[in-house]
Structures are given as C-alpha cells and as structure tokens.
C-alpha cells in the first residue's frame, strides 16, 4: 500500500484517481481496469484484487459512491482495499478467501456527481446528466437500473432527488456497471453496494415485498454480519428487505443484481443514524470503516466457505 495516503480524511476525485494508479503500481495483487465513461466524459475505473492462481475463481463485486453526497462510501471502498492489501498475508480469513475469490472494487461510480459535491454543492446526490434542455440536472443512478424500473419509489420529474432517468440504464454510469456485471454474472457470487447512513444491511427487493427465492439464506448471512458488528462494536444494524424495513424503491442496483442471478446482493447503509447524516465528520471515518470491514468480510467469508 503506498505510504502517505491518509485514509481518515475525505479525498477529492483527482486524489482518488491518483490513489488508484499508485495502488496498482505498488501491488502485485491489484490491477486497474476501465469500466466506462461518465456523462461528462470522465473515465470510470475499478480495481481488481486477485491473487495469482491457476484455478478458476469467483468474484465479489463492491461499489461505492453511487450517491455523490455520501462521501463515507468512497472512503470505505479505499479503506477496504488498503486493509486487504495490508493484511492478506497475516489475516487467515482474508488469505483464505483470496485463494478462491477475486474482489472487484469500484471506489466511485458517480464521479461527476462526486466532483460536483466537492466543487459546487456538498449535498448533491445524482449524476450530472442534463435534462429539459439543460434546465435541470441529474438522474438518481440507484433508480436507473433495469429492475422494475420506474414502478415505485421514484420520480419522473428531473428536479427530484429520486428522478429515475428517461429509461432503464439511460445513464452511461449505469450502463457501464451493468455491462460488466452482465458479462461476468455467472462468476459473480456477491454484489455489495455501499451507502451512507441508517445502520442497515438491506436485502432484495425494494420494488416488491415478495421475497427472493433464497431469502432465508440472504437474511441469515446478513444477520451473521450484524451479529458480528454487535459482538465486537456494539453497533446495532437492522437487517431486512428494503421494502419491508425502509421504503419502496425500484431501479436499484441491488435488486437488479439479484434479478439477473447474482445470489447474494446487499446494500450497506453505514453507521450514522442521523447525527451527522450526509456530512459525517472525518473523525468518524475510521470507526465507521473498521466496523464495516468486519461486516463485509463476514459476508465474503460465508460466501467463500459456501
């Protein structure tokens, strides 16, 4: 792991790009790949953490930063990569699952929105797609996936924070993720997407209360992660389907991933319960990331063992 990068502060996008390049240069485990481009033509990269091996491996996908203002999410994805690289030799759990699994980490999906939240409007949520001849901006990328798109918990008004776009996968950021996941779906065992607050591990679905066929196992694994959090940190995460414990939403990446056949699909809503909301102070980054690391590795370990 390159020295000098501070994981307990927030970083603007230019520093995250630089960090990805440095990580790739300095580790034999990591490669950086082009995923696609944003509305404003910026390049989206993801990192692949892969231990060299002759045997075929399955994939765990994790993305962060779909909502621009949720800065703790990209901070977590970076923390996660650092922890894996620092500990894969000494930590038996990480060492074990890396023998069977490759980790694909997308630190920031909504790059345009993230930059906009740094430079112009800290509480910006959506991407930066222009609509109505440039009179309003932004699609909520987590309402834009092709999973019961536009059916519930969205708005068709482009001024809304939950505007679902002009059609399923209308946004290049959504298409970029969807294309890669579609290509690799037979090898992807687990899709994790990280959000900012509420202390939830959310299971599919948000668009219907009908549970998925493997609901029992999905719940059991999430509850195991929540129990680990409670046991070590005393943090009380609530587990359940989005529609039953939070609210209805359609077009989410979590629902889409499960609908195309990825068996384990979860949304993490991290540790703040409203004290700071979307403006979690930097001194909260470390405790948030430490506990989230435990929850995420608990899930990955289960998937690996299975």
């Amino acid at each position: 792991v390159p020295e000098g990068y501070n994981y307990t502060k927030y970083h603007p996008m230019e520093e995250i790009y630089e960090w990805m390049t440095q990580i790739e240069k300095n580790s034999e485990l990591v490669t950086q790949h082009h995923l696609g481009d944003t509305v404003e033509n910026r390049t989206i990269y993801y990192l692949q953490i892969s231990q060299p091996s002759n045997k075929p491996k399955k994939i765990i996908w994790m993305d962060c930063g779909i909502h621009a203002r949720e800065w703790i999410a990209p901070a977590f994805c970076q923390w996660f990569v650092k922890e894996i690289l620092q500990n894969y030799e000494s930590d038996a759990t990480i060492r074990r699952f890396l023998q069977n699994l490759d980790l694909y980490v997308l630190p920031v999906i909504n790059i345009d929105g993230y930059i906009y939240s740094w430079e112009a409007e800290r509480l910006w949520r959506k991407n930066r797609a222009p609509y109505m001849n440039g009179t309003c901006y932004g699609t909520d990328l987590n309402r834009n996936f092709n999973s019961s798109w536009g059916s519930i918990g969205v708005s068709f008004n482009c001024t809304s924070e939950v505007f679902c776009g002009s059609g399923p996968e209308s946004e290049p950021e959504t298409r970029a993720v969807a294309q890669l996941i579609e290509q690799k779906k037979s090898d992807i065992l687990c899709y994790l997407t990280v959000h900012s607050y509420g202390q939830y591990i959310l299971t599919p679905y948000g668009s219907t209360t009908t549970p998925p066929s493997n609901n029992e196992e999905l719940m059991q694994v999430a509850q195991k992660a929540a129990a680990a959090l409670m046991g070590k940190y005393g943090t009380s995460y609530k587990v359940g389907s989005t529609s039953s414990i939070l609210y209805n939403n359609s077009g989410s990446s979590r629902d889409w991933a499960h609908m195309i056949g990825i068996p384990f699909s979860y949304t993490f809503e991290l540790r703040d319960k409203g004290t700071y909301g979307f403006v979690l102070p930097p001194d909260q980054i470390q405790p948030t990331c430490e506990e989230t690391m435990l929850a995420v590795t608990t899930i990955i370990d289960y998937v690996d063992q299975k």
Binding site: G153, G274, Y276, G277
Partner: protein, 92 residues
C-alpha cells in the same frame, strides 16, 4: 448551507403526516429520510434539511400543529466546513 438545520420528526398521526407532506412539498425541503413525500409515515423517523431562511417558519408551523421535533444538526455549513476546510488547508 449557512444556518441550515436538519430536523428529526416522528409524526404521530395521519393528520401530522399530511401536514408534513404539505410543508415539505410547498417549501421544497430537502428530505434526507425518507426520500419521498409518500414514504413519510406515522411512527417513523423523518429527517429534513431546512434552509436557514425557512427555519423559523417551519418550526412555527410544527408548533402550531403540535408536532414535536428535535434539531439533529444545528448548522449544516459548520459540519461541511469541518470536513472540507481542513482538507483544503492540509492539501495546501
């Protein structure tokens, strides 16, 4: 976000829910939780960011309708500064 506040409200009745939906929609308040007006429900948490010029008006309206509230964030800008100003000075 100077002086913007985030309020925490748990509406108790359907009438309170209706009033909150009306207030949020007419004043175009930023819903933090839930994200849609129709998801505001009795007995469930509502977090809203209220722009500084509207803070008093919103609080008066809540008082008039006997809706209790708690201030979660007293000044959003202070929190924003805490993360970004420090970053800028560190980078310099």
């Amino acid at each position: 976000y100077d002086g913007d506040q985030v309020l925490h409200i748990v509406p108790e009745t359907f009438q309170q829910v209706q009033h909150l939906q009306h207030l949020c929609s007419t004043l175009m308040l930023d819903l933090w939780k839930p994200q849609l007006l129709e998801d505001i429900r009795a007995g469930e948490d509502l977090h809203i960011r209220v722009p500084a010029p509207l803070v008093q008006e919103v609080k008066d309206s809540l008082d008039q309708h006997m809706i209790s509230y708690k201030v979660l964030i007293n000044d959003v800008q202070e929190l924003v500064d805490e993360s970004t100003l420090k970053e800028r000075s560190q980078r310099q």
